[in-house]
Symmetry: C2
Subunit: 503 residues, 2 copies
Amino acid sequence: MTDYTAKLQALRAHLAEVSLLNGISAALYWDQMTYMPRGGAAVRSKQLAYLSQQTHARFTDPALGKLLDDLMPYAESLPADSDDAALIRVTHREYQRAVKVPAELVAAIAQHTSETYQVWTEARPANDFSRLQPYLEQTLNLSYRYAECFAPYDHVADPLIDAADYGMKADDIKALFSQLRAALVPLAQAITDQAPADDTFLHQHYPSEDIERFTTDVIKRFGYDFERGRLDKTAHPFAVRLNSGDVRITTRYPENTLSDPLFSTLHEAGHAMYEQGIKADYEGTPLAAGTSAGVHESQSRLWENVVGRSYAFWQYFYPHLLSIFPRQLNGISLDQFYRAVNKVERSLIRTEADEVTYNLHVMIRFDLELQLLEGTLRIADLPEAWHARYQADLGVRAPDDRDGVLQDVHWYGMLIGGAFQSYTLGNILAAQFYAKALSEHPEIPDEIGRGEFSTLHSWLRENIYQHGSKYTAPELIARTVGKLDVTPYLTYLRQKYGALYRL
Amino acid sequence: MTDYTAKLQALRAHLAEVSLLNGISAALYWDQMTYMPRGGAAVRSKQLAYLSQQTHARFTDPALGKLLDDLMPYAESLPADSDDAALIRVTHREYQRAVKVPAELVAAIAQHTSETYQVWTEARPANDFSRLQPYLEQTLNLSYRYAECFAPYDHVADPLIDAADYGMKADDIKALFSQLRAALVPLAQAITDQAPADDTFLHQHYPSEDIERFTTDVIKRFGYDFERGRLDKTAHPFAVRLNSGDVRITTRYPENTLSDPLFSTLHEAGHAMYEQGIKADYEGTPLAAGTSAGVHESQSRLWENVVGRSYAFWQYFYPHLLSIFPRQLNGISLDQFYRAVNKVERSLIRTEADEVTYNLHVMIRFDLELQLLEGTLRIADLPEAWHARYQADLGVRAPDDRDGVLQDVHWYGMLIGGAFQSYTLGNILAAQFYAKALSEHPEIPDEIGRGEFSTLHSWLRENIYQHGSKYTAPELIARTVGKLDVTPYLTYLRQKYGALYRL
C-alpha cells in the first residue's frame, strides 16, 4: 500500500505540472482575447504553440503511462466513488486518448487552426469565403488524420464527437436529433404562423456600463464569485478557467442591442459557475474540469434560458432593469418585455436564435459536418449548401457568406466535427437537470421570482459542479436524471411557448 | 564557416525558447499586478516559480554553454560592432553569470522573495515591521549566499550591484555619491531656507479618467506606441516588456493628487519607449532588453523630469491641462503650476521626492544596505536606523514604519543590495544623455515647447534604445557621452533650481 501511496503522490506531482501548463495557456489565451495589443499577436501565437507542445509532451510521457498502469489495480481495489480511484481511472483514459495522437499531428493542428482563425478574423468581415477554402480543405484533412488515430470506428465523426462528448457517437446524435426535429418543426411553424412579438425597443442605444451594472448584479445573485473571477469585454464571448480560484468570463456590447450582451453574460456565467463549483481538492488534476462539452453547455443554457428568460426571473428583475433604462423601456410592460426576449423567429444567426429554433441551426451545422466528413459534400460547395439548408429548414437565406457559412468560429478555429452537437445536448440536459431539481425543490421558481437562486445553485453544485470530471457525462447523467431524454425539454418548450402563444 | 552558421542557428533556437518562457512570465506578472482576482494568487505564484525554474534550467543547459564556447572564436573573428558577435558575447557573459548560481538557490530566492512580498503587502498597511523581521533576516542570508557565488569580490555588495549595473562596484558608487552629496546638501539647504512653493491645488479631486486622457495624449506625443502597448491601473506602477510588439505600462490614481499619476505615467512611458525602441531583429535573444538598470532609469527619469517637469513642456501642455481641469486649476498661472510641480521639500517618500532631494533618499537606502551586508547593522535595528538617517539627512522623521523602512517594495520583493543605486545613476545619466542630445540638436527645447518630441526621441532611439543589450552600460556610455560624470546633472539642477529660486 505504501508503494501505491508513493505512486499516487508521483502521479499527482506529474499532473500538477500539466495543470500549471494548462493554466498558463488559459491565462495567455484570456489576455489575447481581451487586452493584448495588436503588436503582441505574433509572439503570443508562438507562446501558445510552445505551451501546447510542452503540455502534450508532459501528458504523453511514458513515465506517466507506467505510473497509471501500475496504479490501475489500486484504483480497482478502491470503492467506485473514491476520488483517488476516479483520478487514476479518468487520467488513464485521457492518457490513452492522448498517446494515440502523434505530437507532430497535435502541433500541426494547433498551428493550422491558429492560422485559420487569424484568416477568418479578416475574411469574415470581408465576406470572402474563397480565402478560407484552402484552409478548410486542410482542416478537413487534419480532421481525418485525427479520426484515423482512433480507428476502427463506426463513423469517421465518432472520434471527434467522443472527444467533446464522451460516450456519444454520430448515430446516437442523429437519432436524438431526428426525434427532436419531429417535434420542433411543427412547434416553430405554429408559432411563426402568428404575428411576431414586438422587440423593436430592445434594439436601441443601451449604454454598455449600465448593462454591465445590471448583469453584474444578476450573476452575483446567481452565485458567480467575483473574488474568483472577473468580467471583461471581448469580440466573441467565452468563459475560461485559469484555476479553481480564477474562472473568468467575457462579454460584448454590440451597438443597439440589449439582449445580446445581457444573455451572453448570463450564458458565460453558467459555464463559469460550473468550473467555480468544482471541488477545490481536484485542483491540479484532470478532474478539475467540466466533464463534457454537452454537460458544460447544459449549465450555460440553463442559466441563460431556463432561468434568465423565465417569467419568474423577469418578475423580479424587470423593475430593476426599468429603473436603469427608464427612457428606453418607457411604456413597456413586464409582459411585453417577456414576450420580446422570447421572440420566436426564423433567423440567420445561431447565437441570437430563440429557444425553439436554436436547435434547427445546430442540426444544419451537424449535418453539413457529417456530409463533409463522409465525402458527400466538398468544401467548395459548402457556402451554397449552407444557404440551401437555411432555406429548407428555416425559410431564410443570408444575403452573404458573412452571416452564412462564415458566421461561427468553430470550423475556423478547431477541427471540423464534434463541436456543434454539444449545444443541443446542452439544451436537452438543461431541461432534464432543471426538472429534476424542481422535483426535489418545488420552491425554486418562487425563489427565482424573489431574485434568489441559492437552492437551485446548491442543487447544481451538489449534483453536478463539485464532481468536475470525476464522473463521465453518461455516469453523471445516470446518477442524476437516469438517461438522456428529450421529453423534459419538449415539455418545457411546449409549456412555455404554449402559454406565450396560446397554442 | 558553415559549422559556425549552424551553431549560431542552434544558439538562436535555444535562446528563442528562453525568450518565450521569459515573455510568458512577463504576461503572467502583468496580469497578476493588474486584473487577476484574489482567488488566482495561489496558483499564479506556483506558475511563476515553475516558469522561473524552467527558464533557469534552459538558460544554464550545458549544451548552451558548449555552443557558446564553440562560437566565441567566431565572435572574435567578427567586427566588434557586429550583431552576431554581440549576441554571442553578451549571451556568453550572461550564461557564465547564470551557471554560477545553483538552481536550488535560484528557486529558494524566488520562493522566499515571493512570500516576503505577500507578507509586506499586509504588514505595511498594518505598520508591522516585526512580522517582516524574520523574513528580512532570511533575505539577507540569501543575499550573502548569492554574493558568495561570485567570490572573490572586493565588497560583498559588488555582485549584487553588478547584476543590476554591470561594471559598477560599491566603491565606485560610494565615490560618486559622496561627490553628489557634497553638492546636493547645500543646494537643498539654500532652497528649503526659502518659503516653500504652494502646491495645495495639486492636492484635490482630479477624476482619474481625465488624468488618463491627458497623460495618454502626452505619452503618445512622446512616441509611446499604443499599437504595441497599453496603459492599465495597478498598485505600484511598473513597465513590462512582454515582447518587442507588446510593452505595457501601468499607473495608479491615488485620491487627491494630480502629480503622482501624471509623473508616474510619464516615468513608466520612458522605460517602455526604451524597450519599444530596441531593434526588432533582437527579439528572442538576450539583446532584446535594456542594458542596465541605471540606463533604464535614465530613460524614465529623462522623460518624467528633464522633459516632463520642464518649463518648455508646460508652456505647451499647461493650457491643455487647464482646459481639462478648469475648476481645479482656476486662477493658477503657468508659473505657479511650474513651481508647484517642482516644489523642493524635505519629505518622507522617495517616489514623491523632488529632483533635488531625491538622491538623498537613495543614498540613505544604499548606505543602509551596505551596513546590513557588512554586518554593522542588524535587521532588528533597521527601522530606527532608517529614522535616524532621515532625521540626519533630511531633517524629517516618519510617524511610523509604514512611511519609514516599509515604504519601498525592494527589500521585500528582491534581495538586499544592488537595487537603489540605479535610481541615482539614472538621474546622472539622464542629464548626460540630454545634454549630449542638446549639443547635437539645440532645437530640442523649442520643439518641446511646441509639444513635439521627435528629434529627442529619434536621438535616444538611434543612440540608446535600438541597441538593447548589444553594448554594456559602460560601452554605451563610452559611445555616447564618454564616461559617467555628475557635472551635467549638477549643472542642470543648478540652472533649473537657480532660476526657480533665484539662487
